[in-house]
Symmetry: C2
Subunit: 236 residues, 2 copies
Amino acid sequence: MKIAVLGTGGGARCHIAKLAELGHDVIVGTRDPEATLARTGPDMMQNPPYGQWLADHPGIPLATFGDAAAGAELVINGIDGHNAVRALAAIAGDLAGKTLIDYAVPYLYNPDIERPWPTPWGVNPILGVCDSDSLGEQIQRALPDTKVVKAFVTQEQATVVDPRSIGGGDHTMFVAGQDADAKQTVTDLLTSYGWTDILDLGDMVAARGMEMYAHMHGAIGFALGFGTHFGVKVVR
Amino acid sequence: MKIAVLGTGGGARCHIAKLAELGHDVIVGTRDPEATLARTGPDMMQNPPYGQWLADHPGIPLATFGDAAAGAELVINGIDGHNAVRALAAIAGDLAGKTLIDYAVPYLYNPDIERPWPTPWGVNPILGVCDSDSLGEQIQRALPDTKVVKAFVTQEQATVVDPRSIGGGDHTMFVAGQDADAKQTVTDLLTSYGWTDILDLGDMVAARGMEMYAHMHGAIGFALGFGTHFGVKVVR
């Protein structure tokens, strides 16, 4: 399938590599391709520069957000939560009629500091939107002609693309969104990633819980210790 | 152990019955014992009147919040989230030096409507406090001489006291709070309830994640259908 991944961060790289490995026709979108490739320092989350990563994963084209989305059948949003609505709304035409998977957490961004959050160990960064709204709902409102599906957001993307690395893969992935066919497309993709327990949480309002779970995910991660990978299984 | 349960709602009743069954010396606290026993209609959450329930569970004394707490070694807070801080602060002296388990979700209360939330099926009620604070932290700040432990909050109390009823009991319970001994007391109680996987999430700041998980719990519950019991297992 022709799949565009928007963003070049650590999470996006997990999907890019996995999709290429699965034989999909992957294209990557970034705000300014030349600037992305020219960068020599680490990104905001301390990932090595994308150009360096790309050297180890040759042959994956890089384009603007709009050009990447325009040619794709399925689009994965890997743009930081605080930039996502603005960046996606700007290419609404390129996303019209398509399925867009969003996995962003809407962490509050403070432009006055270099990192997006000044959070001590053990305290999760706070969200810019939660409780009575969610980033998933905001994106769906900004893109009324796009079938937005919230997914992937409840754990690290490295294990989203490799669920069997945790407990043999017997844990739960969640999807939410207004369009049943779009959710089926995402469910099929997740199945190809190795997921066996995929729970449809219903309409996009469920993105509130999926995004707010970031605090619980953080707390569990702090408890288990840095670098411990985990998932959650809905036992019923 | 002498244990006080504050509150007479559905969740409190689960703990009262289980603690009595386990042979603890249980006392129940309510704002106005006479009024509680005189009530003939269902409570806010449509539970049958407490007096009716008590007739099926004879011999469990009912006292004011303060009198119940005063004689107990361990106190369980089952007061609604929107009333908890005020009601507990009023009996701070009776709670001093004790371990207090809090399992409340701080759902926003609207005094202009009869029920605490006007929420359609599929949409979780919103929280009065979240993200940068939590009810657990508020209670600990209001009771500096009490060892507050957040626990039980991530699932229905009926299955908190009967974890083996879900998946043979292989799911995860969380505790958080500042005092290690208090958390051990709660962990011992949970073990007596049948829990085998109890994860200490660290300081009370983790109550943010535990309370905000209410949206995820709600979404999963809506997806599985009314009346389906479930828990979550941290797979690692």
